[in-house]
């Protein structure tokens, strides 16, 4: 049997040492009526070769899909480092003396995320962008007595969905959506301004789900009328190009950092991140690594501010999160270290330029973006279901249909370009559309 090292002879020796006649006695404390006497109907055991043949993989040849999960180029360094068993098979670093590797790497992840977002501090990761937003909203309600969480409708539909799930039983806090301008695709500023008040917190995604850049300058002018506000990020690559969201004065920058060194992985694991200001530290969710010193006075790292967390504060904890996405955060740290400031800027510029190239090419076919505001690396066009299906049948994924989530744009298709796409990809798509 794979992974089970005790031999039959070993088992006899162990039973003898315990002083019981057979293995059945190990389970004597389970009442007979609670025992399962059948054989689990589960296939196997399968050898490695058979397992491999069960999992063949084939991908489409041209993919313009994003929408919160992005295909970016990941240097070989990232997997080489993060597949090391010392990182991969370690537990949460509760014992600092033998976890300095994970701890220091998380400290570096926190440092780089805080820098990129323009905030004071970062935690060591959340599950994903959606739960990170939900936790930010929960944090806002802990700071002040709020009655309303305002979320822009241009925020990722799944993020809004999870936010509503988390708040479905909260007493007296309603989740309200601020609509977008049908012309520009940006948030409807006057409506947002009206919704923002002392008893509200609000969140705005930048760039938004349509890829459109929100007018954060204008938003920041009235943002302080709210008790708390945050910027949500679902394409972290944009941080390589845009002004750090923290410079607009928000309380939190939360979202998804899968783009930084993590593969699309058929949808997960993803990498939620959470950055905030010093004054909110003690209300923050998730694990935080702090720098310290050991008994010889040398620099060392450990988990800190643990009294916020569930294992100590239990029902009064700031969040129930325990396991996070540590390995994904490590990938992001290695990725950012590999790319450096110039590399990250370059990749971000490539993404934005690719989106321009695709927009221009589509315009020649008479397909224009639905929204007029500038975009980062995604944009919405109209494409009927039949055309999209036809493209997919030829191995081209032109984008993600968004009509289900936005009846305002029933035939909307979100198209995404990253540095993994090429001019040849664009040519293939245009050819198939012509």
């Amino acid at each position: 049997m794979p992974f089970l090292p005790t031999s039959d002879e070993d088992r006899r020796r162990l039973l003898e040492a315990i002083g019981i006649p057979g293995e059945e006695e190990l389970f004597a404390s389970i009442p007979a009526h609670a025992r399962y006497r059948g054989t689990l109907k589960v296939e196997g055991p399968l050898d490695e070769h058979s397992l491999r043949s069960l999992f063949p993989m084939a991908a489409s040849r041209v993919v313009f899909a994003g929408g919160g999960i992005y295909r970016h180029y990941i240097p070989s360094v990232v997997d080489a480092i993060t597949s090391r068993q010392e990182f991969l098979t370690a537990y949460t670093p509760y014992q600092p003396e033998i976890s300095q590797g994970t701890l220091q790497a998380m400290f570096e992840f926190q440092s780089m995320m805080a820098s990129l977002t323009g905030m004071d501090a970062s935690n060591a990761s959340m599950y994903d962008g959606a739960t990170s937003l939900a936790e930010a909203a929960l944090m806002a309600t802990r700071a002040k007595d709020l009655h309303r969480i305002v979320i822009t409708r241009g925020t990722h539909p799944a993020y809004r969905g999870v936010l509503k799930t988390y708040f479905r039983n909260s007493q007296g806090v309603e989740v309200v959506e601020a609509p977008f301008d049908r012309e520009t695709g940006q948030v409807d500023l006057p409506v947002l301004e009206k919704l923002v008040a002392e008893d509200a917190a609000f969140f705005i995604q930048q760039p938004n789900f349509f890829g459109v850049m929100e007018p954060l300058d204008a938003v920041s002018r009235f943002a302080r009328k709210a008790s708390f506000w945050g910027v949500v990020v679902s394409e972290a690559m944009s941080l390589g190009l845009l002004k750090p969201p923290g410079t607009y004065g928000c309380d939190v920058v939360a979202g998804e950092a899968q783009s930084l060194g993590n593969q699309a992985n058929a949808g997960g694991p993803l990498l939620g991140f959470f950055c905030t200001r010093k004054e909110h530290l003690r209300r923050m969710p998730g694990r935080i690594v702090g720098l310290s010193r050991d008994n010889a006075g040398e620099r060392a790292f450990c988990l800190t501010l643990a009294t916020r967390e569930q294992h100590i504060r239990r029902e009064k904890a700031t969040s129930n999160i325990c396991s996070n996405q540590s390995l994904c955060a490590l990938k992001a740290a290695v990725y950012l270290s590999s790319l450096g400031p110039r590399g990250l800027r370059e990749v971000a510029l490539q993404c934005a330029s690719g989106a321009h190239a695709l927009t221009d090419a589509l315009k020649d076919l008479g397909i224009a973006p639905v929204f007029s505001a500038p975009v980062f690396n995604e944009f919405v066009v109209r494409m009927d279901e039949r055309t999209r299906q036809r493209l997919e049948d030829t191995g081209i994924v032109p984008g993600i249909p968004i009509g289900e989530h936005y009846p305002e744009v029933p035939d909307g298709l979100l198209m995404t370009v990253t540095e993994m796409n090429t001019n040849e990809d664009i040519r293939c798509l245009i050819e198939a559309l012509s």
Partner: protein
């Protein structure tokens, strides 16, 4: 264990010093010892009205959080701002510089429920058993 004669005590290990119509409150030497190194003290702001038994703040070590309760009903009129920067004062001088809040109490009768030093000492040794 240091249990000053002149102070009053609660079963939750707060000490109280009667100063005219107000009560200065902190946690006892026993409590600070049980907590270990205090790393953070969070106190309710001045002006907060509290009922006897309501929390007036929390004390944190690296592994525990403990609430500090109002020994009497009244209004918090002063808090120890020094603890913000120097929470270790709770360990170093729990009955002195480690004080936490001053409460202007409403009903002097509340004071009668508090233990004197001898009662508290007995209470501690009973709890230890």
């Amino acid at each position: 264990m240091n249990i000053p004669e002149q102070l009053r005590y609660t079963k939750d290990h707060e000490w109280a010093k009667i100063e005219d119509n107000t009560l200065r409150v902190g946690i006892t030497d026993y409590a600070q010892h049980e907590m270990g190194d205090v790393v953070y003290v969070d106190l309710k702001p001045t002006g907060t009205k509290v009922e006897k038994g309501d929390p007036v703040g929390t004390v944190e070590s690296v592994k525990a959080v403990s609430e500090v309760f109002a020994p009497v009903s009244g209004t918090i009129i002063e808090t120890n701002a020094a603890l913000e920067q120097s929470p270790e004062l709770v360990n170093q001088d729990s009955y002195g510089q480690g004080w936490m809040v001053v409460i202007a109490f409403e009903d002097a009768q509340d004071l009668e429920a508090l233990m004197d030093a001898k009662d508290y000492e007995e209470y501690l040794s009973a709890e230890a058993k």
